[in-house]
Amino acid sequence: MTEIFGIPIQAFMGQLMLGLVNGSFYAMLSLGLAVIFGMLNIINFAHGALYMAGAMLAWMGLNYFGIGYWWSLLLAPLGVGVIGIFIERSMLQWLYKLDHLYGLLLTFGLALILEGLFRDLYGVSGLPYSIPEEFAGAYNLGFMFLPKYRAWVILASLLVCFATWFVIEKTRLGAYLRAATENPKLTQAFGINVPLMVMLTYGFGVALAGFAGVLAAPAMQISPLMGSNLIIVVFAVVVIGGMGSILGSIVTGLGLGVIEGLTKVFYPEASSTVVFIIMAIVLLVRPAGLFGREK
């Protein structure tokens, strides 16, 4: 059997694939963070909690109202988006002119409150959410046994990431958004409703987190702590990709997922730290991140 670094090529390919699945989650979450940071200058620490809220909403929809997976995929992100808009209107909008630290502290506090709320309601062991019937079973790829659901996760996240990138970089709406980021006063003078755009951007950014949450629900146990376990890694991804860079966060998210996956084979003990080692190196060499522009 062919081997790569002493590991059978089949196992190697399998781990690459799994890395890509995890990378998809990183990409979607870091994309939302990048959009929010890029447009609002807010370091959104509540992102992990809102990802968890997306998964929770899917579970509640199924168990209290009989809403299935596909509708949840649409409705839960909408719900999270509405929560986001409420947060932006009632609290965040007063912080844009202040130091980053205030936004960070506020959203961190919100994350703790949200997590505490769900922990109080459902405990920490989490809730089961079964894989939708369409995706039961697995593909035999020859080199590995890939559950259909994981394949769908990769596909869905790539679609969402591409659509977001396309809207922001290639459409008129995206151009307005970028202009509003660059110079809000001037953009407003051209008759564009900047506060509305900012509000919708935050809503959209957290809806992405909610979407990732629903995608994660069948694959992982839904628990109040699922967001906080992930969010630190996602922040590292954003920093490596370059704060506020859309393409950067997508590419780095997928890339780091793969690197982390391979670490799990070669030296599993380091798999939770490898991302941070890379972050330190990148910051030393390119302080603005791989895809970031220095201001």
Partner: protein, 409 residues
């Protein structure tokens, strides 16, 4: 919030004392602070809070209420609780504060081995009592044993031995381990490996994963590639839950047997029977065992809205046993109470013929359980078939292997 509540409790205690409620009754016990004070030190908000947490507080309160109703003591009993956040320093500081300034006589629960070891040291120093119902490490009754500590419910030896022996003897004799990369995981892995080898099995390999890993599919793929007949999960809480979930998704459950080494009814409830059916592991308590356990557990369910874990049942039993000992000896002085405890045979809904050994190990029967198929389950929480009752003498590490300096050989 919690701190406020404790503050309120302490405040109430001070007021009631100041009001001059002297204990002049006949035959009144010689008690420090004229009362017995019990502290539940547990994880109230982290990964283990469903295992212990508020449920342990509820169980301790039930024991106090039941004791008051049965024995009608002339002295007062108070309960305090705190969150140790799974941090050894927070736990030992809290214990010190309780012993020094609040007159706590006995601490219970103390889940998380690191916290338990730290609190056990403080307890010895302050000459009080620790009835540990939550921690797993066998160090508590070996290298770090203490005359003031009782390890009440389970330990890694008991968890490892049941499935290690039973599963290997079924012919599933090659094992691969998925191990949480910290003291508890290593200890559970080692104890199970020993049990497997002692019963003629072999260990093919192990992969160490970080605590609270977000995704286990990669580790499980390695376990799958190992072609071992059994995959042992030497981890706990959320890590076990996510490992089992991923094992199902990747089809491991079809070809290999998954053994959760520290799995409790809380995990099974969180995952559901379709995912967990057929799993085998060791439990210290099951609510649906007999009339006595059912009656107590339903009462617990009425208050907590969940069936008890072995930690909850153990905490009830420990508090009740302790209070009976205080009544019998007429004092809350640790040495006297401990002497009485070690001479007592514990018979209640948790333990039958339970004995506390010299090294602090409470020896009682454990149960090897198998998770029911969804069709077999007749009601909510009806999850286990009891495959074997492991007598205490076999379940726990024999005294001949003890590394505890207190044990005279």
């Amino acid at each position: 919030m919690k701190r406020k509540l404790i503050g309120a409790l302490v405040g109430a205690a001070v007021v009631s004392l100041a009001a001059g409620q002297a204990f002049a009754q006949k035959g009144a016990a010689k008690l420090s602070g004229d009362m017995v004070k019990i502290g539940v030190l547990t994880d109230m908000s982290g990964v283990y809070s469903d295992l212990g947490g508020q449920g342990s507080v509820t169980a301790a309160q039930m024991a106090i209420d039941d004791f008051k109703a049965q024995a009608k003591p002339s002295w007062k009993i108070e309960l305090v609780y705190a969150d140790h956040q799974n941090k050894a320093d927070v736990g030992s500081n809290k214990a010190r504060e309780w012993y020094d300034t609040q007159g706590v006589d006995m601490i219970t629960d103390a889940l998380n081995s690191a916290v338990a070891l730290a609190v056990s040291k403080v307890t010895l120093e302050k000459k009080r009592i620790l009835l540990d119902t939550g921690a797993a490490s066998t160090r508590l009754t070996n290298e770090d044993c203490s005359p003031n500590t009782v390890h009440y419910v389970y330990d890694t030896y008991a968890l490892a031995n049941g499935p290690g022996k039973a599963v290997t003897k079924q012919g599933k004799d090659s094992w691969y381990f998925l191990t949480a990369d910290y003291a508890f995981g290593h200890s559970l892995e080692k104890d199970t490996m020993d049990a497997v080898k002692a019963n003629g099995g072999k260990v093919i390999g192990a992969v160490r994963h970080p605590l609270n890993a977000s995704d286990f599919s990669s580790f499980l793929l390695q376990a799958q590639a190992s072609k071992a007949k059994v995959v042992g999960l030497a981890n706990a809480g959320g890590d076990t839950i996510n490992s089992i979930k991923a094992a199902n998704e990747f089809g491991l459950t079809k070809t290999q047997t998954i053994v959760g080494l520290l799995t409790t009814i809380i995990d099974i409830h969180a995952l559901g029977l379709p995912t967990t059916q057929g799993m085998m592991f060791t439990e210290g308590f099951y609510w649906n065992l007999n009339n006595e356990t059912r009656e107590w557990s339903r009462k617990f369910f009425g208050k907590h809205k969940k069936m008890p874990s072995m930690l909850h049942a153990g905490t009830y039993s420990a508090v009740m046993t302790y209070l009976k000992a205080v009544q019998a000896t007429g004092t809350d002085e640790a040495d006297a109470v401990m002497k009485h405890l070690k001479a007592t045979t514990i018979n209640d809904m948790f333990a039958k013929g339970g004995k506390i050994r010299e090294d602090g190990r409470m020896v009682h029967d454990m149960y090897l359980v198998e998770v029911k198929k969804p069709a077999e389950s007749k009601e909510p929480w009806d999850y286990y078939n009891i495959k074997a009752v492991i007598p205490g003498s076999e379940a726990f590490q024999p005294m001949s292997l003890s590394r505890c300096p207190l044990v005279k050989k």
